[in-house]
Amino acid sequence: MQPFAYVRPATLSEALTLLDEHGPDASLLAGGTDLVVALRNRTLRPKVVIDLKRVAELRPSISDEEGWTTINATSVLTDISEDQRIRARYPALVDAAVTVGSAQIRNRATLTGNICHASPAADTAPALLVYGAIANVASVRGTSRVNLAEFFVGPRQTVLQPGELVTSIALPADATPRGATFVRITRRRGVDLATISLCCMVEATGRTQFAFGAVGPRPFLVADESGLLADLDVGDAAKDEVLRRLLTQASPISDVRGSREYREAMLLVMSRRALRLSIARLAAA
């Protein structure tokens, strides 16, 4: 680990001023489960680490405001998986959140950090995408909101500009009946990074969305508006054809976690399974 200055602002405006001042020399610390590893491995060498845990406006909280469920920047994954509103409204997000790391990691790691780290394999990204989440962004220049579907640029890259940070993630609270499922393939059952991950959501209207992780430079969202996928009377072969079309955007690579061929095959296998389960969950909703 290379020496760095540590600062712990108490307010958002202090944090933003510091971030503005140090720009690319600063790293933000929330849970630290990605940052500390990078510091230790010297893959990140910030001059300043800005600890966000004491920033009053960013304290852990999950709140309902104007039709949005808002999850503050320092809320950890355990907060999310244990919150009754989240469990009721966004079960697939809970399914995803509980696969991140281990119990110890989830007690430290934040949802916002998982998103801002922008790993193509970020477990919570596909669920947040199908639920239509947005990121609330702030800088010394003001605030903005970014649809998560436009947030990811590439591996470890987001649309955030120097001086900007995400203050919260918000999900639309006004849910039409829907069934959603998060699934992934890993090399082992406990604590693993996804070889592929996906989230499927079937709405009562018949609209079906899929979001995919670990199969391209960024997690991405696609939709079938035809209603065909959700239709109980349509056969598997016809559905496969639609799924294959949705999957054309996926561009998996071969790496230590799996070959391109395996990932491509698993995308289809797991999409079918997630679709079936989502339809069943919609029926039960």
Partner: protein, 727 residues
């Protein structure tokens, strides 16, 4: 009392509460911190090393390269003196240290290590068995290191042949021939290797979590040109070792640094560096087995090639032990087993729990299954038809089968529900394996019975989690007739405890157990004499001691030893003192869509002679079984085309977690008091992993119809095999 009861683990509380002191917890006054410098490539020629910038960093005390070391470069190893203290002229594998920085703090050492400029040129390397055997490949080892070896112009360190009967003319109704591969895996002890050295009087003291303090002492004395008595090895209880901490690694380097700087130095490896330091031998095994129609074996013809890495370490012993029992625990009329240890530009391999047995049993057990399927014989039945009976000389001229092994097989079959109906998608497998237990070497113990009846036991064993402290205390308590709690076991300091060959090969309970027992018997003889002298033949021990020592003080000292004699003609240098026999049975459920596997039930049976501490033995066998699931299901070191480790670290080298455990696990024991250790015990603790792979793979075959001969059985590999079958 004590023997056969599950006494609480000595040191267990400290381990689970984090209060145990490991080498990395030790700090000495004025201590320097060391960081190794390595290149991010495999085989490379070192053109030049510029240490000026690193030396200029405030706080840097020394930057050591090959040029600063004595010439010729000191080389060392448990058998061959081939490993240099630092890379000379070239790096032979990804991560071989080319320099070492010693600084006032770890951070300074890290920063300075990055400033050591190593100009180098990548060279083609040998990373596979095929490349090692290709005469066109580069030579890994300089021929002058083995001047009298006719193989010194090849990448073969040694080739061993063993067998009996006549394989060529043996007739068989069925011949099965297949090639099996076993992956490179790493030990993954939770405690990474750590080393401290300090000049002491006119010698050196070293702190290291070694399984083998006396070999360490001998090798350090040789490298440093010191008398053995001037090298003191503090062997702290390792936090897991599994063979990976058996032989010297960077101890000579830290010792030389300490002597050069005149300051104590400490090196704590990262997990990544341990991957680059030690591993298990990977191998390819070509097995040709002849069977008679009734399933009995006619001949076994096995050719194994072990890719051992850049230095010999203990590889020759690994291949010998693997090859000697290449036919497994079976009655085989004709056998020919040939094995080679091959150099490669990869991490040097070393001892690893099971020591060559999991590799060869993967082959001989999968062959049994293949034959059973082709002959239409039940897979358990075919094993029972071939298993050596108790007392049978299944290895001509050697120690006969020392257990009723069929009992273990039946026990495992019953526990897994062999022959009962299976749910869809599920299969069962059962496999056996046998390992030659420790052969030669001595263990000594000194037991001091104090005037109040309590005792101190000196034993050079390493307690690396297997529970040696507890079991040795149980033996002493039982023999001396005193409570377990009155005994202190002292280990791990070569200046205090007498010689022990090593803590390996499941030998400690048998060898050191016997030494402790004999030391106690020595004490008992002295007590008898004392009782006679005091005319109190029936006095309790404590009264005798008080009577004898109250005025003049003193204690009773007992000495005990146990040794296996060296037999130069024996392929292993000595007969196995016992066999470690295991039977594993597993039931798995395979998801044919994804290749993912769920272990529904997993059973191991260990023939241990006598379980001195049943809970410890079960825990050891259970731990071994879980470790075996690693190389069976997920563990493998992956190399790129230039020999770089692609999955360097915990993120992409996966070991089983608690969530990967079988839904049900059973560790069963067979106890017939037929071992050479105290109270009829045999060595234990490796068995659980020796037959894991063939048992699980056999279950996968029953579930899916596909046969996989390469490990690990990753979901992708299983899926691919299923897909190819369907295509």
């Amino acid at each position: 009392m004590s023997i056969g009861t599950s006494e609480r683990r000595s040191g267990g509380h400290a381990r689970v509460t984090g209060s145990q002191k490991f080498v990395a917890d030790i700090g000495l006054e004025q201590m320097l911190h060391v960081r190794l410098v390595h290149l991010n490539c495999g085989h490379a020629r070192i053109v030049s090393i510029d240490t000026a910038q690193a030396l200029a960093v405030p706080g840097v005390v020394s930057v050591l390269t090959a040029a600063e070391l004595p010439q010729p470069m000191p080389r060392y190893g448990p058998v061959f003196n081939d490993r240099p203290v630092l890379a000379v002229g070239e790096t032979k594998y990804h991560g071989q240290p080319v320099a070492a920085v010693a600084a006032e703090s770890k951070e300074v050492a890290e920063a300075a290590a990055e400033l050591v400029r190593v100009q180098h040129e990548e060279l083609p390397g040998v990373f596979t068995v095929a490349a090692a055997l290709d005469p066109a490949s580069p030579l890994v080892q300089e021929p002058e290191l083995r001047p009298n070896d006719p193989l010194n112009h090849t990448n073969v360190l040694s080739e061993r042949r063993f067998g009996w009967g006549d394989v060529e003319s043996a007739r068989a109704d069925l011949v099965v021939e297949n090639v099996y591969t076993f992956p490179m895996i790493t030990h993954f002890a939770i405690e990474p290797h750590a080393f401290i050295a300090a000049a002491e009087d006119d010698g050196v003291a070293v702190w290291t979590p070694t399984q083998n303090p006396f070999q360490m002492q001998r090798i350090l004395a040789t490298v440093l040109g010191l008398p053995v008595a001037k090298v003191r090895v503090h062997a702290l209880d390792p936090g897991g070792a599994f063979g990976g901490k058996q032989h010297p690694k960077y101890e000579p380097l830290v010792a030389l640094l300490a002597l050069r700087t005149g300051r104590p130095v400490r090196l704590v490896l990262t997990l990544e560096e341990t991957f680059q330091e030690v591993r298990r031998t990977s191998c390819e095994i070509r097995a040709r087995t002849g069977f008679n129609r009734d399933g009995t074996i006619s001949f076994q013809d096995i050719q194994s090639d072990f890719l051992m890495g850049a230095y010999a370490d203990i590889a020759e012993r690994v291949i010998d032990k693997s090859n000697y029992l290449g036919c497994g625990p079976y009655r085989v009329p004709n056998s020919r087993t040939v094995v080679r240890a091959l150099f490669s530009h990869t991490t040097p391999s070393t001892a690893f729990r099971g020591f060559g047995t999991p590799q060869v049993s993967w082959a001989h057990e999968s062959q049994m299954d293949d034959a059973a399927r082709k002959l239409g014989i039940d897979r358990v039945e075919i094993r029972l038809r071939n298993l050596a009976g108790k007392g049978e000389a299944f290895l001509p001229g050697d120690t006969p089968a020392d257990g009723d092994w069929a009992v273990s097989v039946r026990k495992a079959a019953d526990a897994i529900g062999w022959g009962t109906a299976l749910s869809p998608g599920r299969g069962r497998g059962l496999a056996v394996a046998v390992k030659a237990g420790a052969t030669t070497g001595a263990s000594y113990s000194i037991v001091r019975l104090h005037w109040d009846g309590s005792a101190t036991v000196l034993a050079g064993t390493s307690d690396m989690g297997q529970g040696a402290r507890t079991v040795l205390a149980q033996v002493a308590a039982h023999e001396l007739g005193i409570p377990h709690e009155w005994i202190t076991i002292v280990m791990g300091d070569t200046a205090t405890v007498p010689f022990d060959l090593q803590t390996s090969a499941s030998r400690s309970t048998v060898f050191m157990g016997q030494a402790v027992m004999r030391a106690c018997q020595d004490i008992k003889a002295q007590l008898k004499q004392m009782a006679a002298e005091l005319h109190a033949p029936d006095a309790p021990v404590v009264e005798l001691l008080r009577a004898r020592f109250s005025a003049v003080r003193g204690e009773v000292i007992g000495v005990g030893s146990y040794r296996g004699e060296y037999q130069p003609e024996h392929p292993l240098g000595g007969a196995p003192s016992f066999y470690e026999f295991t039977c594993t049975a597993s039931e798995v459920e395979v998801d044919e869509g994804t290749g993912e596997m769920l272990l529904v039930r997993h059973v191991t049976v260990a023939d241990v002679g006598k379980a001195l501490n049943p809970q410890h033995v079960e825990m050891q066998d259970e731990g071994a079984a879980v470790m075996g699931l690693g190389h069976t299901l997920m563990e493998h070191i992956l190399l790129d085309d230039s020999g770089r480790i692609r999955n360097l670290g915990a993120l992409d080298y996966r070991i089983p977690t608690t969530k990967d455990l079988p839904l049900e696990m059973h560790s069963l024991l067979v106890e017939n008091a037929d071992g050479p250790g105290p109270y009829g015990s045999k060595g234990a603790g490796e068995g659980g992993l020796m037959a894991t792979a063939p048992a699980v793979a056999s279950a996968v075959t029953e579930a899916t119809g596909v046969v996989i001969r390469d490990l690990p059985l990753t979901p992708e590999r299983v899926w691919l095999a299923i897909n190819e079958k369907d295509a």
